[in-house]
């Protein structure tokens, strides 16, 4: 089922067009790469604040409230460019273990962000200005950092997929 969808995507004119164009694929890849600074590079500072490694004098609400919306915009760029890259080589991705791991990590990152936003953040008044945050908040930061590192590493590894 998934395989036949990938096969169909692979043969669409857009998929073929991106794959066979000399400039479009590298261009999208470059956008996908540089948008890392905008998404992961920014959300990283929210995580570093949560684990107590950066901006400890700033309230968590300030760091999260200001940086998270920016990082989400960056992530939209990553997501859209990533979709186009996937569209151009769905079969390669389908067979790539690294791609599969990357998707699982992204899904878990989504859960982590959801849990933080809706279950941990509502209690922020108590620890907004604390130097050491409650375990739940620190864990959310560590999980996010570790999994984003995994996403970047797996993303690079896809290019090394054995044929």
């Amino acid at each position: 089922m998934l395989l036949s969808i990938c096969q169909w995507l692979q043969d669409t004119s857009i998929g073929t067009g991106i794959r066979e164009s000399i400039w479009i694929f590298p261009l999208i890849e470059t956008v996908h790469l540089l948008a890392l600074a905008f998404s992961v590079g920014i959300i990283m500072f929210v995580d570093l604040r949560l684990i107590g490694a950066a901006m400890k004098e700033q309230p968590v609400s300030e760091v999260f409230g200001r940086l998270q919306p920016m990082a989400v915009k960056g992530f939209v760029i990553n997501f859209l460019s990533g979709m186009l890259l996937f569209w151009s080589e769905p079969l390669k991705c389908y067979h790539s273990l690294y791609f599969q791991i990357k998707l699982v990590l992204l899904f878990l990152l989504g859960l982590n962000a959801f849990g933080f936003q809706y279950f941990t953040l509502p209690g922020i008044a108590v620890w907004d200005k604390a130097l050491v945050l409650p375990l739940r908040a620190r864990m959310a930061g560590w999980v996010s950092l570790a999994f984003w590192v995994g996403v970047v590493v797996m993303g690079r590894a896809i290019a090394y997929a054995t044929k």
Partner: protein, 158 residues
Amino acid sequence: MFPILMPFFQWAEKSGLSVEIRASTWQFAILEMIHLLGLTILLGTLMVVDLRLFGFGLRRQRPGDLARDLSRWMWIGLWTMLVSGILLFFGEPMKLFGSPSFHVKMLLLFLAIVFQVTLFRKVTSNRHIASAIDKVAGFISLALWFGVGLAGRGIGFL
């Protein structure tokens, strides 16, 4: 690149380090991954600081204070990139010698580092209220560093 540098690239290509790095595909790949993580830290920090110069993001702090607060992360990112980048260089010196993207990247890298430790530092150490100069400095910083990233990705193609 300048022909005068040719012997250096040839020496690098023949060095034991180069042979060692080229011995396995995965060694090179892992260096690339570290290089990429360094990029995320470096460019991420610059985004937060430079966007602040434009008036976006962490507005509670003055740009200069924010730049000082985060400078440690900029240097962690930069050193990660420099060390992994030098090792990547040893992985394919002669290819880089003939790569226009690499030449452009080295030029932009030089300009970006010089700008960051001179004019940029001067602007962000300025404790006066925000001015147009802040925005110009933020723009030049982002343009130079994203230029380095763009040229770096270009090495894979040109």
